[in-house]
């Protein structure tokens, strides 16, 4: 192994940036859909309606017991076929990005639903009684009284889960989709500077995630006081 040579990095920046945009797109969409679907799963799980709570519990346990990379692979295989049959998209169309988004969103929802369920349970039980006693329906009490308090308590955990997801998106390399990690790998391979490129990519991941968790921690302290 020769000397490290960083000179290929500046030229690669536009390509790396495009990869970062893909990474951020997947992360953001998965966080948003994951939180919405996760909230619904959490409510189903606690609804007391047997069918719904079984479904939600089954869903959560299933996704939490399968390696993420396998879920991703399945979706890369299944979603194109599904899209083809539903919308007649040509088989050649590049559905890797949408497959990745769907897979991450559904997978993350399982984790988010557990965080959200704990958050809902952390809101004092009397609050639901008080809201109901005023004549609010269960749905109104949930959306106006319970969930706002639950989410306020949960923000640090939700953000931390988002940071983990940001790193996990690198697993899309199994579909050779050029996210930030994939882009770094490709360009490093092309220029014969794989080691430098992967060290650089690692440093970027570290910087972003570490500063994000510092922000979360500071926010957590502010909320606690």
């Amino acid at each position: 192994m020769g000397e490290l040579d960083w000179t290929s990095i500046p030229g690669a920046l536009p390509f790396l940036w495009a990869g970062m945009v893909t990474t951020l797109e997947i992360t953001l969409l998965a966080v948003l859909v994951g939180i919405v679907w996760g909230t619904l799963l959490a409510i189903m799980r606690m609804s007391g309606v047997k069918l719904l709570s079984w479904f939600a519990a089954g869903y959560v346990n299933l996704f939490r017991s399968i390696p993420l990379v396998m879920v991703l692979l399945w979706f890369f295989l299944i979603v194109p076929a599904l899209l083809e049959s539903l919308f007649n998209t040509p088989r050649s169309a590049d559905t890797r990005l949408s497959s990745a988004m769907v897979a991450f969103a559904l997978f993350e929802a399982a984790y988010y639903s557990e965080i959200i369920r704990a958050g809902i349970q952390s809101v004092a039980k009397g609050q639901l009684g008080a809201a109901s006693a005023l004549g609010l329906t269960y749905a109104q009490a949930m959306t106006m009284v319970i969930l706002p308090q639950a989410f306020r308590n949960m923000v640090p955990l939700l953000l931390t889960q988002g940071i983990i997801l940001f790193q996990d998106t690198s697993l899309v390399y199994v579909s050779s989709l050029a996210d930030f990690f994939g882009a770094a790998y490709k360009v490093g391979d092309r220029d014969g500077r794989l080691v430098e490129m992967l060290l650089f990519a690692g440093a970027v991941y570290f910087l972003i995630c570490f500063s994000a968790s510092l922000l979360v921690r500071r926010f957590q302290k502010k909320v606690a006081t």
């Binding site: 009684g129 008080a130 006693a133 005023l134 706002p148």
Partner: protein
């Protein structure tokens, strides 16, 4: 106004309420007392359907609470309830605590709801605190806001579950004063409390509960004169000591 007929409730094999019957006429003030765990909270929460019960019947203003066809939110909108731990919504200002259900349940405009809320805050002496959050208020102030919040729905009757037992002693009076005022205006009230001074001043009847049963249900004069059951005598002598 409220009729409770042979109401029983159990958790598994544990009987929380057995064959409870009583009624509250319009304008009447009923005090419910009894040892901790005797089922007072459970009984009062059955009245607005916050707790389900397995047998018997409760009729509030002509509507059967236990009937599965009854629209409970609609019924509850007109039955005010005040809790031991206040249960104000901590993420909303005092004004919004009072406005929320008026707007969402009664369909009042926001201006109307805020105006009605402020009228009631003035009545409980807390208009100056309208823009604060519950966490910034003392326990006594929070409970007065909670009473104002219940009144903002123009209830036909009010249920209180130990409204002063979570308060520091010096704050009990400010809450009781509001409740006495309500009673004197003719509000129909069912009050779980151990404040016998309050019972003596405004109650029409006193109910004594023990182990899920209504043991005594007597006019105030009779109850304080000479309660019939030994349990009630013992209970009274204990709580009157301090």
């Amino acid at each position: 106004m409220i009729a409770i007929k042979n109401v029983s409730k159990h958790y598994g094999s544990f009987q929380v309420l057995s064959e409870c019957s009583t009624q509250v006429a319009k304008g009447e003030v009923i005090v419910v007392c009894g040892p901790s765990g005797s089922g007072k909270s459970t009984l009062i929460k059955c009245v607005n359907g916050l707790e389900p019960f397995q047998s018997g019947e409760i009729i509030v203003n002509g509507i059967s609470v236990g009937d599965p066809k009854t629209n409970l939110p609609k019924l509850r909108a007109h039955v005010g309830m005040v809790f031991q731990n206040f249960e104000l919504f901590p993420h909303m200002s005092v004004t919004d605590n009072l406005a929320l259900a008026q707007v969402k349940v009664l369909g009042r405009s926001r201006e109307e709801a805020v105006q009605r809320g402020h009228q009631l805050l003035e009545r409980v002496g807390l208009l100056a605190q309208a823009e604060k959050f519950p966490g910034q208020l003392s326990g006594g102030q929070q409970q007065r806001v909670a009473i104002a919040r219940a009144l903002s729905m123009d209830p036909i009757c009010m249920l209180f579950d130990e409204p002063t037992s979570a308060l520091d002693p010096e704050m009990v009076k400010e809450v009781l004063d509001v409740m006495v005022g309500l009673a004197q205006e003719g509000m129909t009230m069912m009050v779980v409390t151990h404040e016998m001074g309050f019972a003596r001043r405004v109650a029409h009847r006193v109910i004594f509960m023990d182990q899920g049963r209504i043991v005594e249900d007597a006019p105030k004069e009779d109850f304080f004169g000479a309660p019939r059951s030994e349990r009630a005598q013992l209970f009274l002598s204990k709580i009157l000591q301090h």
